[in-house]
Symmetry: C2
Subunit: 457 residues, 2 copies
């Protein structure tokens, strides 16, 4: 099949189907690639998604959950019985099973683990004990080892026997009697070396990291040296897991999104799917910093030009006071605009937001911005009125903050959406142009408000 | 070996060694992993890097160039003879050879191609004809195919015979008599299926893209469906190339960096290694937009409060005029600060800048910021003096721009560098905190300058 990542039509069809019939929606899921099925479910109403998902076999459910992110996993597993969860967990590779269990209530997890075979449960308990951001948190424990005196054919047979359901491309690690890795054979090496060679003659030195190593470090080693697989060892040097290329790529993508969102002060989860209050809470720390910084700068300016306020008086004094709060207003509006646009640019790139969700995302982001504007505006009203001893000025500042921030949220969504429609790369326009636009509107709004409330000029 | 991506010590050693003896430096390169060797060369003085590189065998040179980015490839190949280049090209897989040739003068490329065997030259000419940003531009033409009636053992043998030097993990494509792909077998499938099965019974449907498809689309298909390899077909549907997981990961990383740099209006090449004037030129478009936007907003504000300028007169009128230019100053300083910090955050993440290069990067970024400040300041001086008919005001604005922008460049470098030293994630601090800092300093600088030059208050 000649594929294209444009699945908008199918996503819309599934959304409609899931409202009419969970059974037919489930059949559409089962027929699709699990990665597409996960996208379909992400787009449907939560209740409908759950109902369609419940119609799948445990094997199909496991395949979809392997492709689902944290939020979707939480949604889909929320209503499942411990028995249903157990059947799914049995179908999953150990590292994916741990990721699914991480989204489920502690009590239910214990029930699920108790109902598994003792050996499997123990393995999952050990994996769950690692920091999710560490090498131990992303490695799989389903890997194949052979001793150094085995032949290539033995290694191939071992892979065939034990590794049938394993992730692709992991290859075979060569270990000594104590389980310390001494060599590695990629699948390519297994295929291209004579079957009767001893593995010790054809193996390469294995690349290894400690189980507590940061996942980003592990991923970047795998990446830098173009490895097929990276071995993970415990403090005793015993091989306890393997990180695949796919795991590493997921880690790098996750870290990139995290960096980007940190740079603009939002949480790193899928922002467009969070409740509005949670978005507000995640973004407040940056706003608090900006408000404190802006108020401090207003105070600083008052100290730097003390003569002005006292001697000029009247209009000139008012004007100077107005000037001092401009950076705060521009800063807050810029923050909110850049946050909305960054979230959208990234959500477009990762297909989190398709065209059919644009309107609802616009609405929720504007609500988020408006709430942030309201909170910051009110806080500033009290502090500014107190600093300046002039409540009309305080009112002008807080009203301008509210209006400029709400407007910036609209711009921050509308600009990337417009770009996508006009086939312009949203990333080019979303940053700098947006800030210029938001600065200019912020100043204009403030001047207008101040002219009326404080009676400048 | 238990690896760690921290190669700072070795990088410093190589830098010193390359100054003393190209031969010993070359021995250090040959002993290192090619990926590390490329990092070493990136850190050395260009002339020393070239000399050490020239001491390597063509095979070693090819291995290093496979890991080098565009800038380093350009540096290392600049002095090589067509004969030396030909010997390197013969050692490279076709897609990597094309990337190397792309960095060489057209005339020399023709000499190199003419000296190759006719078949190889023709293959490279075809590959060179594809858009570098397309699927054709990243695919390799070194892949293995078998007919549908072959057995698994035949496919394994074909891979052993033809694919020995191929990239790992590509597997085998199954094609019909006309060369149309009808199936795919991963290396894992070749290893885990009985050798006497017919490939048509065990193959999976192949995933394919057109040769002109955007490279990002191709990479995201490979990524989304967790493929080991993606087939590339020409307009007639004939298989002409294959994209590997490694290729796809490189594309995704390249696109991440590109998006990020576009969002802050810098070029996407390695900024910290570009000549200063080139950095200035790449960043000017955003500055021009900001200056035009800032001047337009000053004009707009004058129109919105027309009475003020004429009736208030004296100090209040001056004050209003000063106020109008504040967004321009803050905007320019914010741009420059965010550009410097984004470049550094990304350069830290990709290891482009190690601790030993920090000082020289700080110096060159501040020079870049200062030059941008000088240009924007002078342009604004003329326009603002003309709009306001008041050259002391124009001088205050342009001086403040110059000082605030240069200061923002210092902040933009110093904050991420300080964070790295204190083990704080630079991404958290580089965006929002930096903008707040730069806003506050920008306002303070402007007020100070304006107070003295225009005699406010």
């Amino acid at each position: 099949m000649t594929s294209s990542p444009d699945t908008a039509g199918a996503r819309r069809r599934f959304r409609e189907l899931s409202e009419e019939s969970p059974e037919r929606a489930a059949r559409m899921l089962a027929a699709a690639h699990p990665a597409d099925a996960a996208l379909f479910l992400l787009d449907a109403e939560e209740e409908n998604a759950r109902r369609a998902f419940a119609e799948l076999t445990p094997e199909e459910q496991a395949a979809v959950l392997e492709q689902a992110d944290e939020g979707l996993t939480q949604t889909l597993t929320a209503d499942l019985s411990p028995h249903a969860l157990k059947e799914i967990v049995e179908e999953l590779p150990s590292d994916e099973a741990v990721d699914v269990l991480a989204e489920i209530d502690e009590g239910v997890v214990e029930d699920v683990l108790d109902s598994l075979e003792a050996e499997d449960a123990e393995e999952l308990r050990v994996l769950r004990s690692y920091d999710p951001e560490s090498a131990g948190g992303v490695m799989t424990t389903d890997f194949v080892t052979v001793p150094a005196d085995a032949h290539v054919l033995d290694a191939v047979k071992a892979l065939k026997r034990e590794g049938e359901d394993d992730e692709e491309g992991l290859g075979v690690f060569v270990v000594d009697a104590a389980g310390h890795p001494v060599g590695y054979l990629s699948e390519h090496a297994l295929l291209s070396n004579p079957v009767h060679d001893q593995v010790s003659e054809v193996m390469t030195e294995p690349y290894l990291v400690g189980v507590d190593e940061d996942q980003e470090t592990a991923a970047s080693i795998l990446h830098r040296y173009d490895l097929q697989a990276l071995g993970v060892v415990d403090v005793g040097g015993v091989l306890v897991g393997v990180i695949s290329q796919e795991d590493a790529r997921d880690v790098l993508e996750e870290e990139f999104t995290e960096d980007l969102h940190r740079m603009v002060g939002t949480g790193s989860e899928q922002q467009t799917r969070l409740p509005i209050l949670r978005r507000v809470r995640q973004r407040m720390p940056l706003m608090v910093v900006t408000v404190i910084g802006g108020l401090a700068s207003a105070k600083l300016m008052a100290l730097l030009t003390p003569s002005g306020a006292s001697t000029a008086g009247g209009s000139a004094g008012e004007m100077q006071a107005v000037l001092r709060y401009l950076p705060l207003i521009i800063g807050l509006a810029g923050n909110v605009g850049v946050q909305s646009s960054t979230i959208l640019v990234r959500a477009f790139a990762t297909q989190e937001v398709g065209p059919e969700r644009e309107l609802s995302v616009l609405g929720s982001e504007v609500m988020t911005g408006t709430l942030i504007g309201l909170i910051c505006g009110m806080a500033t009203f009290f502090v500014a009125s107190w600093i300046e001893g002039d409540w009309p000025l305080g009112a002008a500042v807080s009203l301008a903050i509210f209006a400029a921030v709400a407007w910036a949220a609209i711009l921050g969504c509308a600009v990337p959406m417009g770009c996508r429609r006009l086939n312009i790369d949203p990333a080019v326009v979303a940053g700098p142009f947006l800030i210029s636009l938001s600065d200019i509107s912020g100043v204009s709004i403030y001047i207008l408000v101040a002219t009326h409330l404080v009676g400048l000029g």
